[in-house]
Symmetry: C2
Subunit: 203 residues, 2 copies
């Protein structure tokens, strides 16, 4: 099995709206209580957008069936999902038949220590990237155990390279490793044990 590593860009609607929502997220964290903007006006405008979306969207169960249609990459996940404003989003390219990578620069919404990426965000990015590497290598599953080691602080506002490689497949056990580098130095590394099991997709 090969998978499409790119969740693709839809020129119309949703991707542009989600990209704009990412700008709002970043601007709100940057604003905090230091802004001159009228925050109750901002709240009203955002609530109006949410109201308009809610009143024209399908029931959640229908959307779940829709988002899980097909067998390729989904578009809604919180790491690479073009339809998820929480996702940076990562955009993967193949390095070889078992290895993938993505580049990303993270801003204030992903902060842990001052000016650094939150350790849990690094774990989130790595868990997902390991899973995508498994799909790319042809044997995937759900995470059973993830170990993340923090070698040095991971900077915000600088290009990061996130890499993952499937190491072995032994029956249903899949082992995969990955790392986050900044300026050529490894900041975070991860080892994952995955079990070849596929929860049913909603129908």
């Amino acid at each position: 099995m090969t998978i499409d590593l790119h969740s693709g860009t839809r020129p119309a609607g949703v991707d542009a709206a989600v990209a704009a929502a990412r700008r709002v997220i970043d601007a709100l964290v940057r604003a905090g209580d230091m802004t001159d903007a009228d925050m109750s006006d901002i709240a009203d405008r955002l609530n109006a957008v949410a109201d308009d979306l809610d009143s024209s969207s399908p029931p959640v169960d229908d959307r779940l069936v829709d988002m899980w249609r097909g067998d390729g990459m989904t578009r809604h996940d919180p790491v690479a999902g073009r339809e998820n404003p929480i996702a940076p989003p990562l955009d993967y390219t193949a390095v070889d038949s078992r290895t993938i990578e993505a580049e990303a620069t993270l801003g204030l919404p992903y902060q842990g220590p001052p000016s650094c990426v939150h350790g849990g965000v690094s774990a989130l990015l790595l868990d997902h990237t390991l899973g995508v590497a498994n799909g790319w290598a042809g044997a995937s599953g759900v995470t059973a155990e993830l170990t993340v080691r923090y070698h040095r602080l991971t900077p915000l506002f600088e290009p990061l390279t996130i890499t993952a490689r499937q190491i072995s497949v032994d029956g249903r056990k899949i082992r995969t490793t990955g790392e986050i580098k900044a300026g050529g130095e490894t900041c975070v590394s991860a080892e994952g044990l995955f079990i070849a099991k596929h929860p049913p997709r909603p129908r």
Copy 2:
């Protein structure tokens, strides 16, 4: 040292705007490409909000100094931060002198497997909660190693309890454990090794 476990609510502005942004995030993931809403109009309105915030906000360096002022809980992190739309946000209460917990129900933006919490999101929530437990117990630091075990899938749309407890402090090494439960069953558990080190706060 004791810390204020609650990052507090500011009745005015920013918290309300951020809460509205969370509604937008959720509504966008629910809408996807199944909505009848005019998504280029939605994109325009969100970009206008981002433009207004950007033009009335301080330079990032000034905001960094502001958000790290004082020694208590910060308000901007991606897990408990009232000022961060990415955060669910968790709201912690003390269980005993070394243990804290939070309840949360997660929606579509946090999805991994169908109708389940993304494994990396569980890692993010646990890493942060372990860190807050360390602060509460009186000895905190940065994550050196985090091991996360996935026992069963963690459901979306159901109340979860996220708990963390500081187990030991040995010189600069701090060990902390935590778990995520749904309906009384452990879905995910974590062990963290933290090093008592505090990156400088921006001045």
